[in-house]
């Protein structure tokens, strides 16, 4: 009952729509490759949460400073209830209105991805959602602390600005502000539980100590308790990394075409794109030895993370492609690389780099542009000028020559490479 009264009277209820608008703007105003991939959807929500948390910190600081200024607690001072209960109701209502926009944004994002029918990776969506929620809660707690010290407007600006600095600096180090959620990264439940517990401890500490006493000694004591709780939060964020490389799944999603393509199950939405590229593989006007299998990034098991370092393992592994942001050009390049390696196996890539005619790069770029369906690459590069010139030449060939001429050109490139490798 009292919670409901606070809920409908706290001025923070007016913050719901603007904060949600910020979240939606960030969510839908950036590349929407996250749609249809649960971990990426969760990470997109977490990105929105970071921008929303700036406004949450500001709003929370403004509300707390306003309560101080109005001396609202003077009215509630002669209470029969426990202070924790009185403040808790006030805080719960504030937290509701500061959290609700994120939940609304997360629900919309989830509905968008759910419409695609993909199921794999939903727990990761929840994990990233929790990271976003923690960000919003900690921003709210930070704002509440700042608001107790400054005038409302100054407090709002100071809290938002300082939270931006804290979030930008500490967020990246601790993984609290993820920018993407590829399927080869797993969120650690233990880290999430630890971080959530620490955040709750901070919130309860703030609630328990707010308005406790007016004398200086008690205030200092309260500040010390809050500082300790804040340190616990910081420690919980550095104690355990929240994102860890994930081992390859036992049952990847495989698509059979001219090559067998295996994907992380979360990347199910890319199957049509895989089929498009595979159709282009079949349309290459030359009979090339193709690799039997090609797999999604980090799915081959060729690398392992040991003490935070990526270590190459000895042995033969299927080549990999990267399709993480849904770029056909990235996929085409990955497949083209694998085919080039299969065709030009007479000398290693490291030796072929020295080739003054750049046969390897000519064949690679020609295959890439054909598999990508033509046009210009969607990426920029800082490759050496002579290699870029080779790529440009191969793209020119793909546009200006017919298929028979392209096949003849490709054969000459392959021959040139083999002669170079054999030292002829």
């Amino acid at each position: 009952m009292i919670f409901r009264i606070h809920l409908r009277s706290t001025p923070l209820r007016h913050a719901f729509l603007p904060i949600m608008a910020v979240g939606l703007l960030v969510l839908y105003n950036r590349p929407t490759y996250w749609v249809g991939i649960w971990p990426e959807t969760g990470a997109a929500v977490a990105v929105s949460a970071f921008f929303m948390s700036l406004f949450v910190a500001g709003s929370s600081a403004w509300a707390a400073a306003r309560l101080e200024l109005m001396d609202v607690r003077a009215l509630a001072a002669a209470r029969t209830n426990r202070r924790l209960f009185v403040e808790g109701n006030l805080w719960a209502a504030a937290l509701f209105w500061l959290t609700a926009p994120l939940l609304a944004v997360a629900a919309l994002a989830a509905a968008t991805t759910a419409a695609s029918g993909v199921q794999a990776g939903f727990p990761s969506f929840v994990g990233y959602g929790i990271l976003g929620l923690l960000l919003v809660w900690l921003a709210g707690a930070w704002g509440w602390i700042v608001g107790r010290l400054l005038e409302p407007l100054v407090a709002a600006l100071a809290a938002a600005l300082s939270w931006f600095i804290i979030g930008s600096l500490a967020g990246e180090i601790t993984g609290a502000t993820p920018v993407s959620g590829p399927p080869w990264i797993a969120l650690q439940a233990s880290a999430l539980v630890l971080r959530s517990s620490a955040a709750l401890l901070l919130i309860v500490t703030i609630v328990a100590l707010t308005g406790r006493s007016e004398d200086q000694r008690s205030r200092l004591k309260g500040a010390a308790f809050v500082a300790v709780a804040a340190l616990v939060v910081a420690a919980s964020h550095v104690a355990l990394p929240v994102q860890q490389p994930r081992s390859p799944v036992a049952s990847p999603l495989c698509v059979n075409g001219h090559i067998e393509y295996c994907l992380w199950p979360e990347h199910e939405k890319y199957v049509p794109l895989i089929r498009q590229v595979d159709a282009e593989v079949g349309a290459v006007p030359l009979d090339l030895p193709l690799p039997p299998k090609i797999v999604d990034y980090s799915l081959s098991g060729s690398t392992q993370w040991i003490d935070g370092n990526q270590v190459e393992l000895p042995g033969e592994y299927a080549p990999e492609f990267d399709i993480s942001e849904g770029s056909r050009w990235a996929l085409a390049r990955g497949v083209a690389k694998a085919i080039t390696r299969s065709v030009l196996s007479t000398c290693e890539r490291s030796a072929a780099i020295e080739d003054p005619a750049h046969h390897w790069d000519l064949l690679l770029a020609w295959l890439e542009v054909r598999l990508a369906g033509g046009g210009s690459p969607d990426y920029t590069t800082n490759a050496p000028a002579n290699i870029q010139a080779a790529w440009f030449e191969a793209r020119r060939v793909s546009v200006e020559l017919n298929d028979a001429q392209q096949a003849a050109w490709a054969v000459s490139v392959i021959d040139g490479h083999q002669k170079y490798c054999s030292g002829a």
Binding site: M1, I5, R13, A74, L75, A78, R79, N81, E214
Partner: protein, 247 residues
């Protein structure tokens, strides 16, 4: 109802109330005193908001010597601070309900208590209006409803008539009469209110009680040459001038 025995109070190194003793009985008692005399501090102390530094406070026969004891007696206390804060988006009935909840009015009887308090201050028709939308006079009445919801035995009102027009002040005096049976301490600057609505008077000056007695006893102290329009005003001025204070 309330006995304060040599209580003192202050902020930091400043002492505001100096070993003050008083006894409040049922009826309306006025608390007079110049600005800075310690009236608000006394009311906060009696309301158990701020525990006294020294001395003993007894309310409804129970010693208030701990936070637990304070919380127990607060069921009996209706306290309205001066220029009380409120959320402008809060409905009048919610404001009073919140007060009832804080005072520990049981959930089952809360709705009736709120309706009773609103009816008492004649605000039933504005129950669902937001606090920010009602007039200053109505807001003051809502404050009084806050203080009296659940019919507490002790009502402490800190300058409740500030900002009210003459008509509203007259209505307020009628409200006070409706609190028959309760022990009311009314902090005010307005001697007319004292004469019209109070049976007893306390005069506080520089943290010390310089008068405690019936309204007629105070009037009797008025020096013929004292400044003032009424006998209470003259008596009040006489008292202050005898302590060297110019209000």
């Amino acid at each position: 109802m309330l006995v304060a025995d040599r209580i003192s109070q202050g902020y930091g190194r400043e002492t505001v109330l100096k070993s003050l003793s008083l006894h409040l009985r049922p009826g309306v008692t006025a608390l007079l005193g110049p600005n800075g005399a310690g009236k608000t501090t006394l009311l906060r102390t009696l309301a158990t908001v701020q525990p006294p530094r020294t001395g003993k406070l007894t309310i409804a026969g129970k010693a208030v010597d701990s936070e637990l004891a304070a919380r127990a007696v607060r069921r009996q206390i209706g306290y309205l601070p001066q220029s009380f804060p409120y959320e402008s988006g809060m409905r009048v009935c919610d404001f009073i309900t919140y007060g009832a909840w804080l005072r520990g009015v049981p959930a089952g009887g809360r709705a009736v208590a709120v309706a009773d308090a609103l009816s008492y201050v004649d605000l039933s028709s504005e129950a669902r209006t937001k606090m920010g939308k009602i007039s200053g006079g109505m807001r003051q009445r809502a404050g009084i409803a806050w203080a009296v919801v659940g019919r507490p035995g002790l009502v402490l009102l800190d300058e409740p008539t500030v900002g009210l027009d003459p008509q509203q002040r007259l209505a307020f005096r009628d409200l006070l009469k409706g609190l028959a049976g309760a022990t009311v301490l009314l902090s005010t600057h307005l001697t007319d209110d004292v004469d019209a609505a109070c049976q007893r008077v306390l005069v506080l000056n520089e943290g010390e009680l310089i008068f405690s007695g019936g309204t007629d006893e105070l009037k009797a102290l008025a020096a013929p040459a004292a400044v003032g329009h009424s006998s209470i005003e003259k008596a009040y001025m006489t008292l202050l001038s005898s302590t060297g204070e110019t209000p």
